[in-house]
Amino acid sequence: MPSFKLDDKEIAFEPGDTIIRAAHRAGVDVPHYCWHPGLSVAANCRMCLVEVMPPPGRPAMMLDVLAWDDLHQTYVPQKKPKLQPACQQAAADGMVIKSQTSEHAVKARSAVQELLLLNHPVDCPICDQAGECRLQDYWLEHQASKKRMKDEPVHKPKGVVFGPTIVYDAERCIMCTRCVRVSAELAKDPVLSMRERGNLNEITVAPGRQLDHAYTLMTEYVCPVGALTSSDFRFKARVWFLRSARSTCVGCATGCSSFTDFDPRSQKVYRYRPRENAAVNKYWMCDDGMLDYQRIHQGRVLEARIKGEGVSDGVALEKAAELLKGAAPQKTAVVLSAEHSNEDNQALLDFAKALGALQIYYTGRPQGQGDDILRSADKNPNTAGVLAVSGGKAKPFTDLVGAIKDGKVSVLVALGSAIGNPNDAGALKDVKAFVALSTHDGPIADHAAVVLPASSWAEADGTFVNRTGLRQESDRAINPQGQSRPAYRWVQELAKLLSLSLPWKKVSELRAASAAEAPAATPSAPPPGGE
């Protein structure tokens, strides 16, 4: 494999790589604003300038420059090598490149950084990006000098509403055009552009349009500074108080890798961020998925209910056990849920087996809109998982409706909250002994005699199988809310009350049992730059 030398470190590259891409893959960070591994090269921020040494025996290309001499208070002519942007310079075998070891590159970066901060407003205390801002990080690493400009900075529009999700601040913008490229290249909707020149330029939306495609939050996500802010997250939390859990998005069957950012003090989830995973979502997530975290706190079932009345969990458990006791196996049905993890479904399946229930169905959220970028029309994260766990025996919900109508179901245990076709909800009314394990309000919780509040995906570890059959684990972020517990815990309690024995005791055993025959996902490690 060909390789080059960057600051005395040997870095291998694949033909066609640029210097920065090869370095990025090797875990070496070349400072950059405008370059993003998932986007085309713009080479406009000039932060990644490196000194490429000439081949042996050849002179370096030198530029004549004027340098300020502090001692004599005058400019003196000097020579300096021509620096190359590492994001655009193709790597060549045997190249010798100096990044942090080149005094010229270091000086150039400091100057670039100073230029970028020239008109920057003193906004850190009110800026949502503070704490994860490139300008802050690179000031410390690459500039670390005080302001020299005495003039009033240029003022530009602030708080410009770009669309339903994004607010733009032109003063903070460094014109890296990442957002322009995300719109054009990822969302295939080139709705953003740049206007004006020099220190007056700003990002603008195409006339008569709004920034309203399905991936608008990615423009905010790639923004290295606080210019684009999401109207959802704006002014809600300070990032240094948040912690991140590695999670899998449950908004659709794609199963994008994500981070769940939550505040450990208030046990509240504030946002999702995409997590790099070459096998699924590359670097991206859609708006629906990014905002799907809201469901963790909205419309939740947080207390046990008997016929709609809130009761303590012990009472509800006893009532549920009473309903299930002595159920005729052939008239007992169990509904699995494609909204829930493999663990929850496996637990219910084992419970059904112990109960002797013969009818297995599954349900989930209704179909939605999909596209050929990331979004799947199946809005359930674990359809493939449910089918795999049940060995393909689970029948669709419509069959259950028929069975209820035929009077074949007298006892029903259902996991989940939503059903595929809302019109089918009426059928559930006819089942008297109906126990539901629900995370959210919905047709299942509405019609159940006993509702046990189940924890959401953010409150328990879980495994989800996406539409391509990839098995991915999602880590717990916050503690179970209210009275809720993971569904498998409820199942365990119920089994205990009914004196049924389940083949597992610990979650790890349950997970092993549920390991469906799907290849385990190998999410690639997050890049050093934290893209």
């Binding site: 901060l117 920057h120 407003p121 003193v122 906004d123 850190c124 205390p125 503070a130 704490g131 300008l135 802050q136 000031w139 410390l140 500039q143 670390a144 000098s145 005080k146 302001k147 240094w240």
Partner: protein
Amino acid sequence: MEPLDQELDAAELELPTEPMLLNVGPAHPAMHGTVRIVMELSGEIIERCDVQVGYLHRGFEKMCERGTWTQVFPYVDRCNYVSPMLNNVGFALAGEKMLGITVPERCQWYRMILGEMARISDHLTCDGAMAMELGAFTPFLWMIKCREMVWEVMEEETGARMTHSFGRIGGMAAPPTDGFKDHVRAVVKHIMQVLDEVERLLLGNRIFLDRLENVGVISAEDAISLGWTGPCLRAAGVPYDVRKAHPYLKYGEVEFDVPVGSTSDSFDRFMVRIAEMRQSARIIEQCLERMPNKGPVNVDDPRIILPPKEEVYSTIEGTIQHFKIVMEGLKLPAGEVYSYTEAGNGELGFYLVSDGSGTPFRVRIRPPCFLVTAGLERVITGQMMADVVPSFGSLNMIGGECDR
């Protein structure tokens, strides 16, 4: 040893001279409020005793693991609260050793002056309290009044009498005030006069001498083995002073002597402290002479030192610098360091472990008086009950430092 109470009835008790258990403290005036001694007395002689500390334990080292390196300063203030400046400087030096930086010359002299003032305040308190506990109230009042003058200097410089939080890794929170040198000179001169008067009052006093001389004796070998440092060790005749043995700041460039005792009794410890105050005055005089009136106090590195407030409010560079240092904290390189200075009670060590982040991984403070207090048991065993008070007083146990 085993806790006394458990073994007591195993001990053979012969009537009628049966030992008596006596508890002193923790809330006893002579125990300085924070220590408890359980003694087994035979008549008036202490046969065995158990010194129990920890009543002022506040989880200092645990708290340090939760903030930034800079946020450790208020905690070290509250270790030895009689000479907090020495702790401040000690911790700052430990951080600087880790970063591999040296503060500007002006700051070094400044730190020495403030440190020696703090040492004077520490010794004044100890000797004054010793005298008071033996009934000599006047010297106590005089010395505490002197201490108050030292603290007025501190207040003028730092804004706080006791808990200054004035040290910074890489410098000090503020440069010396304009009248600093004159103020210090006047205060030190007055204190030296008072010391002479105190000596005249006490050293001709039979009661005072009888209660201290040949009381609370410990051998030099024992003192070394117990890890004693500072005035208590020097009173035992061992001339170990970190300032001389391993000079830091500018101690290598100033002249001073290390006073030592000969009999290692409470009286020697009293006198060593008096003599050290005179040496401190000597050091201060030389420092005042050599400290430049102008020049930087802090290192010139924006990664370490906070920007001036007007820059924070008006420029983005200043805001970022402030944000980075306050929110993320200055980052000490990963590794470990043991840094030691001479505090009021002896070798004050800081063993720092950093994982390279802005938050300390471990801050271990080696409190000199913890080990000195550990020796109290050996000092008072075999003595009269009444000698506990002057012996204990002469060790200068500071609860905050001992218990942390």
